[in-house]
Symmetry: C3
Subunit: 203 residues, 3 copies
């Protein structure tokens, strides 16, 4: 239940990041909603399509769509001055949503009998896939593919989650350990501006 | 049956819009065919993948592919001078195809027991998804996400369609009402250059 | 078995092309892995999603992911000077991988009772889809949509493959004929820089 609430919170936060990017690109309300939606539910949709877990999750539980629509409207109406918020509110909220998304993705893949390695990847897709689609639609090279400890936090969280299960840790405890790992690494990366060295080829 | 004919007509019209964009980008015949195909059947493909309605529609009915191929060849051979047509022929044809695509998408989603809200979204995906993929492949910010009453026409058509069903209107009549709504709004938008205000964030 | 080995070889070669493009874009190790993965398994993933062959192939056989990860690490560590290789090594390897991917795609589609025309398209998607996603993520107009005899080789190989089956040629022989066709045409295109005339619209 707590997971479900944080899942909805993460959906709203991811939707906001879509709205803000759409605003910078001067999109119309439909474009805003599309960008918010793909950011919030795009990753999980790819995961479910690949697993064959169809109809995909938001078809069976319309709360996701409702949360996105309400978030879009509220964000467009009220939060037009994001400067008012302390700078860390959005990244920290994003980190919380991200950590839960990864945990949910890993768990769903395991429920479909995926191998632990595949489960980690499904967790990463759930957490990062939406942001990648958002950036592609907005015609940017996806931010997450460049230099920031974002996907790495997801990978490590997923590995902790699946490894704990290998050691017979109880399912919900293992998920909590994974989520905490993703969250802590991501928060540390935000706090100290950590990034991985990039791989650059000359020419 | 009439629906099926208009569906094929819409497929051809959407394919033409892909061919024309490919022509501006100086693509080879394969690129032209890919752009025409994703425009014409991309939206319905995403819809079917999300619903779990696999194999997707054009695998079971190859008429869609045949219509696309013939349209590509004819467009490349004959219509190299689109200026000859009155300006409104393509947008009006596009509006007819769009309206039917939305109706088909809504109906298919309902057949898979989707909630009315989800059905409206599936209608919008069916109508607008192909054009979005086309623009992404052509490296443009999708036109439909910016300012034009295009997606809005689809949404309103889908709402009329599903609402009519809630009031126990007969299935085919409800679809007709939805299709007519999308078409009229879209034609009005073309005629009077209607567009929604955009949501723009400074900086 | 031989097919399986060449399939893994092709996976590695396609992954390398993703790594090299990621290197030019100065991506971090995660971005490198994502670009390598979508190039190597993106086409087959779309094919399986469209056919309803879920979970998609790399979920059931983790060798694909292992090959990609090892290829990424080796490529980043060792082959940082691709100039050392004779120029034709990568394109010729790519042609071998491409030809086998197309054959596998055609065969899988037929196993799911697809029409021969659909099977050819599934072969093309398997061979070319990954590279298209790679280029979209890297914000380039997909190379394969422009002027080179790349997709055309796939189409002709697929047609030979399915036509041979129509004439009751044995399944593995038909696949071999198709693969050989794709390979020979692609090698000829590399050797003599063949390309199709592009379709260009003024304005």
């Amino acid at each position: 239940m707590l997971i479900y609430i944080i899942d909805m919170f993460g959906t709203a936060i991811f939707a906001i990041s879509g709205v803000l990017l759409a605003g910078r690109l001067k999109m119309d309300p439909f474009g805003v909603t599309v960008l918010a939606s793909v950011t919030a539910i795009g990753g999980g949709t790819i995961r479910d399509m690949a697993l064959g877990a169809t109809p995909v999750f938001w078809i069976n539980d319309t709360n996701y769509l409702l949360v996105i629509f309400v978030t879009c409207i509220l964000t467009m109406l009220i939060i037009r001055k994001p400067k008012r918020l302390p700078w860390y509110v959005l990244p920290v909220s994003d980190a919380i949503g991200l950590a839960v998304f990864v945990g949910i993705g890993v768990e769903k893949a395991l429920k479909y009998n995926a191998d632990p390695m595949v489960a980690v990847i499904m967790g990463v897709i759930t957490g990062c896939g939406g942001g990648i689609i958002r950036d592609v639609l907005a015609r940017e090279v996806p931010m997450v593919l460049r230099s920031e400890v974002y996907a790495t936090a997801c990978i490590l969280g997923g590995i902790v989650h699946t490894s704990a299960l290998e050691f017979n840790v109880q399912s919900s405890t293992a998920m909590l350990m994974g989520v905490a790992t993703t969250l802590v690494i991501r928060l540390a990366a935000i706090r100290w501006h950590l990034s991985l060295p990039t791989f650059a080829l000359n020419k």
